[in-house]
Amino acid sequence: VNRALDPAWLAPAAQAVGVDRTHESAHLHVAGAAPYVDDLPELAGTLHAALGLAGVAHGRIIDFDRERVAALPGVVAVLTAADVPGENDCGPVLHDDPILADGTVHHAGQPVFAVIATTRLAALRAAATAREVLRIEPLPAHLTARQAHAAGAHVLPSMHLARGDARSAIDAAPHRLAGSFEVGGQEQFYLEGQVSYAVPREDRTMRVHCSTQHPSEMQHLVAKCLGLASHDVQVECRRMGGGFGGKESQSALFACVAAIAAARLQRPVKLRLDRDDDFMVTGRRHDFSYDWEAGFDDEGRIHGIAATLISRAGFSADLSGPVMTRALCHLDGAYFLPAVDAWGHSARTHTASNTAFRGFGGPQGAFLAERVVDEIARALGKDALDVRRLNLYDHPDVSARSTTPYGQPVDDNIAPELVAELERTGRYRERRAAIAAFNATSPVLKRGLALTPVKFGISFNLVHLNQAGALVHVYGDGSVLVNHGGTEMGQGLHTKVAQVVAHALGVPLAQVRVTATDTHKVPNTSATAASTGSDLNGKAAEDAALRIRGRLVAFAADHWQVDPAAVRFQDGRVVVGAAAEMSFRELVVAAYVARVQLWSDGFYATPGLSWDKETMTGRPFFYFAYGAAMSEVVVDTLTGEWKLLAAHVLHDAGRSLNPAIDIGQVEGGFVQGMGWLTSEELVWHPADGSPKAGRLLTHAPSTYKIPTANDCPAEFVVRLWEGDCRAETIHRSKATGEPPLLLPFSVFFAIRDAISSVAGHRMHPPLDAPATPEAILRAVEAVRGVPA
C-alpha cells in the first residue's frame, strides 16, 4: 500500500482551486471571534512585560537605577542583558542584535531593560521611567544613510552587480543623464502590534505563542537565549493581525524577552508592545539614497547604467544583506539593461535596524529603473510609455535583450503584451490627450498620467530557504486536518492550502481545516516571506495529500479489483470504476479497517535554483510575476495636495488559485505601496546636538499616515492577467504577495508628470519619495522657475 506515488494514477478531481473562496477565517473576523495572541485566555499567574527604551541614538550606559524601577507598584522583576541565561542575541543572520542593550546603546528606541509586573499597565508605567533611571553618555551618531556611508560605516561588505562595461557604454551613448534622489522608508503598520506570550512547561521547556512570520527562527532564537535545545521550545502562531515583513525577524526580540522572563520567574509572561514602542523599537522598509548615470540613444533605448544604492540598514545587519541583494536584482525593473555597474551599500546608522517589508528591497531597486526611463523620456520629449515599451525585455526567442544583469534568462516574459493590453483597456492615449487639453486651460490644478510595468522575481535569493513541509491527517469521519510551515497573516495562505488539499482529495473545502503553525509539527521551516507562502507550502501540502490519495487509490484498486486509473475522487464521492461508488468517508473507514496509513507528511523543494553571491549571478528565481498599472492624478500647484483620480491594474497571478484572494493582494499592495510613496513619511529628530537627535518623531498613527478609505480611488479597475505560470508551480499559479507593491510606481510618476507640466515638461521635477504635499510643492516651485 505504501508504494511510491505514480501521478499518472491520479484522475482530475473536482474544482477546488481556481475559484473564489472566502478567507477561511472571514466568518470569525467579522464576529470578533478569531483569536490573536493577546486574545488567548490568560493562564493563572500570568505576568506582563514592558520594555525600557534608551532615548539616545548612540551612547554608553553609565548607570541604571534598577532599584527605583523595582520599587514601583506592581513590579515583580526588572531584567537587563546580564539576566539573559544564554546568548544575548536575536539577529537572524549575524550575531549583532542584542536582545537587551549591553553597555552600548545603538539607537534611540533600543530596549535596555524589561519590567515584569502584575498588570500590563503597571509594567508600561514602570518602563516609561526609562529616561529618568538610565544615565547614558552620548557618543557621536550617524543619523542618515548618506552620512554613515561617507564615514565608511556599513553593516555588511558592499555588493557589486556588473554586466559588460557600463562606463564605456554610457560614455559612448548619444545621450547621457545623471541624477540623485531619495526614497523614504515605510513602517509596516500591521494593525496587531508585536506580541509574544511565553508559558513555561515541564522540565525547563518553553511554549511561546508568538505573532510571527517565522516560527522556526523564533524557536531557534528563544532556545539560544535560554541556553536550551530547539526541541525544548515550541512556537505556535494561529494568525497574525498583519505582518508585511515586520514579523519575519523582528518578532524575535519580544519572543526572547517573554521567554527569558517566563523561564526566570516560572510564570507565564506576555509582552505586547504599545504602538508607540513598536514604532520605536522595530525597523522598517529601508530608505534608499541613489546616485545614477545612464547612457541612451535617440529613441530612448538604454545603453548602460551606473548606479550607487545606499540603504539605511540601521544599527545591525538584520536582513539588510538579502534586502540589498534583492534591490540589485530588481534595479532592471522590467527593462533590458545591456551594461550595468551597480553598487549596493548597507549603511550602519544609529536608528532602528531596518528589516523585511513586502517587496524586500525589490521595490527600492525597481524604482531606480522607472526613475531613469521617466527622465530619458522627458529629456527626449517623448511619452514615457513609449520609452518604457522600447526598453522592456524581449522574449528570448526574439532577441538577446532577454537576460537579466545577473544572468537569468527572462524566459517567461509577458510584460510587452501585458503593458499593451493595459494601455488599450485603460485608454492611455485618450487620457494623455485629455490631460494635455486640461492642463492647457487649468491655471491651478494640473493632471498627470503614468503607466508602469512590474517584473518581480519569485523565490528566496538564498537557495536553501526554498523548501517547505506539511502534514495532512485524514480522520475516520472523512474530515481532513492540514498543518504546514507557512503562517497566516491575512494573505489567505491557509485558504489556498486548504483548497489545494481539498482538490487533491476530491473533498469539499469545508471538509478541510488548517491548523495553527507549530514548530512541534513541521520543523525547520522558512519564513512566510518572499511571496513564496502558497508556492512552497501549497506544493508540500499537495505532496502529503497526494500520498494519502495514492494509498487510498491503491487500496481501492486492490480491494475492488479495478484499474487504479478507474478510482476517481470528486465532490466528496469516490468512484471505483464500475465496481463501487461511495462517500470519501466510507472509503476512509474501509481503508482504516484495512490498516492503511491515513496521514502523511509532504515536502517540497523548488527545483532549478542557483545563486552565486560572490559574483551575483545565477538563476535565483523560479519565475517572474508581471503586472502593470496606470494612474491618473490631479495636483494642486498652490499647495502640493493631490488626488488619485483613476487607477487601472492588470496583474499576473498565473492561473490563480483563488482570484478573489489574489485581487485582494493586488489592491491591498497597490494602496500600501501608494502610501509608501506619498503620505507615509518618517521623520526623525535632526542632529541638532540635543539628546533627542535620532528619535523617531512619527511613531504613531496620529503622525504617521497610512491610506484611509477616501484614498481608495473612485475609479479602481483591477484585473488578473489570464495565463498559466510557465514554471511548474502549484496548479500553475503565481505568487501575489509582494509584486503588487510596485504597481503604484504609476501614482508617483503620474504626480511627477503633473508637476512636470508646469514647466512644459522641460525640467525633471526634483521629487523625492514620499511625495507629500510639501515635497510636491517644493518640486513645483523648482520647475516654476524654469523660463518658458
Binding site: D20, T22, H23, S25, A26, H27, L28, H29, V30, G32, P35, Y36, L121, R125, A128, Y190, L191, E192, G193, R239, G241, G242, G243, D274, R275, P443, L445, G490, D636, L638, T639, G640, E641, W642, K643, A660, I661, G664, E667, G668, F670, V671, Q672, S679, E681, V683, P701, S702, T703, I706, P707, T708, A709, D711, C712, A714, T772, P773, E774, L777
Partner: protein, 510 residues
C-alpha cells in the same frame, strides 16, 4: 450627589461596575475584565479604529442625525473612553452584532461575501462603524453613497485590503430584508430610562474621583469648588495623557453629563442672531450646524479627525484646549465667533481672537469654564465669503500643517470692506493675520493687493519646522491659500472650487 456603581447596558443586561480606576478605558475593561476580546487595540490613541464600539443614549432631540428611532447611536474609540463616562448609556461591541444564535448580521455577511477582511484585526472596528451606519439607514429606509461610506470610515485603518472590498460591502449591506438585523430600540430605551439619574454622579477609586454633574448650575458650582479638576469631555486629548504619558489625574470633572451644554441653537442678542454652540456639543453636531449655514465648510467638517473622534470630542474642548493646530479655532475666528465664559453664576463674553495668550494658554480664570461658542448669523459681523482649508499629508483624520479660516467681504466695486484671515499651525496659538488683513481692507481686491497681503503674512507669523511640515512650506502654503481665496472671490473671472482644489466633490456646493 450619588456615589454608586457605574451602570450601563452591555450584552443585553445592566452591568454595575465599582472597582475600576477613574481613567480605566472601556477597551481595557472589555478585554481584561469582561473578557470580550473581539474589540482590538491597534494604537491606544484613537487613530486606528480597531477598538471602535458603539454607544447608545436616548436622543436629546427629534432631529438628532444619529438617532435610530429615538436612540442616539454613535461610534466611539473604546481606548479613549473612560468607563465612568459610560454611566447611563448602552455599550455595543462586535460581540453584539450577530444574532444570539450566531447568524451573521447583514453587515457581517456583506463583509464576508465581498472579501472585506484579510488579517481580520481591524475588522471588528469596521463592523461597528458599518453597523452603526446600517442601523441609521435601516431605520430610515435609506442607503449611503460610496462617498458617504468612505467618510463614515475615516476613523478606521485597514492595512491589508486597500478598502475597495469594504466599501463594496458597505454598498451591499442594506440590500436585503433589514428587519432581522435592527436593534430593539424600544426595549433599549426602556432599560436606559431605568438607569437615568438626575443627580450629580460621582465615582471614586483609589482616592481619585470622577464627578459628572447633570445640570449647568451644578456644573458651574462644581467647577468653582474644584478649580484644579481636569475638565473631561470626549477624552480625545486627556485620554492620551493617561494612555501614553501615564499621568495621574486626581479629579475629573465630566462635561458629558450636562445635556444643557450640548445644546446648539439660534439666540438673539440685541439686533443680531447668533448660533450658540454649547461647549459640550460634539464636534460632529457643531460642524453640522455650521455647515448648514456655510456649506463651504463641509470639507473641514469631514476632515476633522475621524468619525468616532468627532462624535466623542467637543468643539468646546477643541477651542478651550487651545492647541495651535486645532482646526476649529481658525474657522471660528474667521466667522467672528465669541466665547461665553462662566464662573459660578457670572457669565462674560470674549472674542475668540482675544482668548489665547500663549501656547496652550488662555484667559480663563480659576474656576471659570467655557460654556458656549457664539457665531454671528447676521449683522455686520457676518462676512459673505467664507472658506476653510486644511493642509495635511492625508485627506482624512490628519493633523493640519496649516489650517486657514478665511472670510472676506468684497463690495460691488471690488473693494475689500472687511476681512478676517485666521491661521492654525503658523504660531504658538491660532491667530488672525492682522497684517495681511490690513493690507487687504479698503483696497481693490486685485492681484496687487493680494500680493501685498501675501507679503504681509510673512510678517504676521514665524512658523516652526516640525514633523508635519517645514516652516518654509507653512509660509508658502499659507500665502498660496490667500491666493486661492482671491482666485475664488475676485470679481473678475473668479474660479470655481473644482478649479482650485483637488478635493472638490462632484455635486458639492461652492
Amino acid at each position: 450627589m450619588a456615589t454608586r456603581p457605574i451602570r450601563f447596558l452591555h450584552r443585553g443586561r445592566t452591568v454595575e461596575v465599582s472597582a475600576v480606576a477613574t481613567t480605566r478605558t472601556v477597551l481595557d475593561w472589555l478585554r481584561e475584565d469582561a473578557h470580550c476580546t473581539g474589540t482590538k487595540e491597534g494604537c491606544n490613541e484613537g487613530d486606528c479604529g480597531a477598538c471602535t464600539v458603539a454607544i447608545g443614549a436616548p436622543a436629546l432631540s427629534a432631529d438628532d442625525p444619529n438617532a435610530v428611532d429615538g436612540l442616539s447611536l454613535t461610534t466611539a474609540n473604546a481606548c479613549l473612553l473612560y468607563v465612568p463616562a459610560l454611566d447611563g448609556k448602552a455599550l455595543f461591541t462586535v460581540e453584539d452584532v450577530a444574532a444570539a444564535d450566531g447568524t451573521l448580521h447583514p453587515v457581517q455577511r456583506a463583509l464576508v461575501e465581498h472579501h472585506g477582511s484579510q488579517c481580520g484585526f481591524c475588522t471588528p472596528g469596521f463592523v461597528l462603524s458599518l453597523w452603526v451606519a446600517w442601523q441609521r439607514h435601516a431605520a430610515r429606509g435609506t442607503k449611503p453613497s460610496r462617498q458617504a461610506l468612505a467618510d463614515e470610515l475615516s476613523g478606521n485603518l485597514c492595512r491589508c485590503t486597500g478598502y475597495r472590498p469594504i466599501l463594496d460591502a458597505g454598498e451591499a449591506m442594506l440590500d436585503g430584508d433589514v428587519a432581522p438585523g435592527r436593534l430593539p430600540v424600544e426595549t433599549l430605551l426602556g432599560a436606559l430610562a431605568a438607569l437615568a439619574d438626575d443627580t450629580t454622579f460621582v465615582h471614586t477609586h483609589a482616592g481619585r474621583s470622577f464627578v459628572a454633574p447633570r445640570t449647568l448650575d451644578a456644573f458651574a458650582a462644581e467647577r468653582l469648588a474644584r478649580p484644579d479638576a481636569t475638565l473631561l469631555a470626549g477624552a480625545t486629548d486627556v485620554g492620551l495623557w493617561t494612555n501614553k504619558q501615564f499621568r495621574d489625574l486626581p479629579e475629573l470633572l465630566f462635561v458629558g453629563g450636562v445635556d444643557a451644554l450640548k445644546r446648539i441653537e439660534s439666540v438673539r442678542d440685541g439686533d443680531a442672531a447668533w448660533l450658540s454652540i454649547g461647549a459640550g456639543a460634539s464636534l460632529d453636531a457643531a460642524w453640522r450646524a455650521l455647515v448648514a449655514r456655510w456649506p463651504s465648510l463641509e470639507d473641514i467638517w469631514l476632515r476633522f479627525a475621524g468619525t468616532p473622534l468627532r462624535h466623542a470630542g467637543t468643539m468646546g474642548g477643541n477651542v478651550a484646549n487651545g492647541s495651535p493646530i486645532g482646526d476649529a479655532a481658525p474657522v471660528l475666528m474667521a466667522l467672528g465667533a465669541r466665547l461665553v465664559l462662566r464662573r459660578g453664576d457670572a457669565e462674560r463674553r470674549l472674542g475668540l481672537d482675544a482668548f489665547y495668550t500663549g501656547y496652550m494658554q488662555n484667559r480663563l480664570q480659576r474656576g471659570e469654564f467655557l460654556q458656549a461658542i457664539e457665531v454671528p448669523l447676521d449683522g455686520p459681523g457676518v462676512l459673505p465669503a467664507v472658506r476653510a482649508w486644511k493642509l495635511s499629508k492625508r485627506f482624512d483624520c490628519d493633523i493640519s500643517a496649516v489650517c486657514a479660516g478665511l472670510a472676506i467681504d468684497v463690495d460691488a466695486a471690488g473693494t475689500v470692506r472687511a476681512a478676517r484671515f485666521a491661521f492654525g499651525g503658523m504660531a504658538a496659538t491660532v491667530a488672525r493675520a492682522h497684517g495681511a488683513e490690513a493690507a487687504a481692507v479698503g483696497q481693490a481686491w486685485s492681484e496687487a493687493t493680494l500680493e501685498r497681503a501675501m507679503r504681509a503674512l510673512d510678517a504676521d507669523f514665524t512658523p516652526l519646522d516640525d514633523l508635519r511640515a517645514s516652516a518654509r512650506y507653512r509660509r508658502l502654503a499659507a500665502r498660496n491659500l490667500l491666493r486661492r481665496l482671491w482666485l475664488e472671490t475676485r470679481l473678475d473671472a473668479p474660479l470655481r472650487p473644482h478649479e482650485t482644489t483637488v478635493w472638490h466633490r462632484e455635486g458639492a456646493e461652492a
